[in-house]
Symmetry: C2
């Protein structure tokens, strides 16, 4: 009963993570996955019904894992302000995207996410509904509270995208800024450092959006909501 050696099914899933992340869906081959798993070529069809089924199972497995591991909300004390909650959200989000940096593994989830963004498969639909939509809703609530009642809904959505965009970009654009030598993601504590930056940057950005919505005229006296974090 699987005491020492793992299931063939699990070994295939693990190997698929490596190969799909590295080669993409089209680029990966069933043979390479099975070789890496030490299993026969026919195993993929036997356990997952084919290459496509394996890919879908893998995606859901990986995302469920990392979403479980890093929450973006928690039970704060009653009076906790939205700024502090946002900081926690950003750090959780960034951890989900950059988990591999600290754990020292291959960036499987980020790679698969990047590939799904570049070429959405059928998996994208279920991923968005299962994982992204709830998270986005939580973030939008926070953002609305920070922006106040005078900022239109559309502006709040743009702020959400601006904030999430930063998080995702640090994960996605690594091939670019590693070549530019702008930032070394491999130094210790980098994820928390980035989380702090993104939180500060985004709070500043949202303060500017709020000032704009509430009219520039009263900007002299501090706008009413920064400097109190």
């Amino acid at each position: 009963m699987t005491t020492d050696k793992k299931n063939t099914k699990e070994k295939i899933l693990e190997a698929a993570g490596e190969v799909f992340a590295q080669k993409g869906y089209a680029g990966a081959t069933v043979r390479e996955i099975c070789d890496l798993a030490g299993a026969n070529v026919a195993s993929v069809n036997y356990y997952y019904g084919g290459k496509e089924g394996l890919y879908k199972d893998l995606c859901h497995h990986l995302f469920a894992e990392v979403f479980d591991q890093f929450p973006v909300t928690k039970d704060f004390p009653e009076g906790t302000g939205p700024e502090e909650r946002l900081a926690f959200f950003v750090e959780g989000m960034l951890n989900r995207l950059l988990e591999h940096v600290q754990e020292g593994g291959l960036p499987k989830k980020s790679q698969l996410l990047a590939r799904e963004l570049a070429a959405p498969t059928k998996v994208m639909d279920s991923l968005v509904e299962t994982f992204v939509r709830p998270t986005a809703g939580q973030a939008l609530d926070l953002i609305r509270r920070i922006l106040g009642p005078n900022v239109p809904e559309k502006e709040a959505a743009k702020c959400l995208l601006s904030m999430v965009g930063q998080c995702v970009y640090y994960s996605l654009a690594r091939p670019i800024f590693s070549r530019l030598e702008l930032l070394d993601l491999n130094q210790p504590g980098i994820v928390q450092e980035l989380a702090e930056h993104i939180t500060r940057f985004s709070l500043g950005g949202m303060a500017a959006v709020r000032r704009e919505a509430e009219g520039d005229t009263v900007s002299g006296a501090g706008g009413g909501r920064e400097g109190m974090a």
Copy 2:
């Protein structure tokens, strides 16, 4: 001498743009490209030395086109502040990434960029050196001027990534937020609207970073540098 009908070579490049963007490098087939171009299967090898050569030529061709079409700097009047220059930069950058939205074509460049990010090929190196590095340098200069002398270089780099990250995200993450119905990129004037948002958001974010670097103590009196856009 190519009066009406185009060169076979050019027709192949055009068809390659469609197919590579839609299917990716591994997913695209030489046969499909040639069929779409109305050319023989052997043409790709004849003109471009193979699938790989065609892909490289295509990438450079497309990026050169869009970088030419949308500059991110221009000759401003002498006294123009960095904020206004940044607004121009952001709009140019966003136009490069979302050009297809206004022109109503397929997002070939964005797709290819997304795919290169997800799985960098040899092309990524030359793309970064030819197109990205100069642009990043220009942006970093602007950002340094906005942040002032007290902000460390590393913080400036993070601000650059935060700003560029927003621009890229609006282009890259379309498969996600179109499913979330957060933002409709197809409405007229959306690119300029987003450019204004990103500029405002980023200036606010950088103001916050600057305040942090110059010490939070003097934050009460407005920080000294926003509200004058």
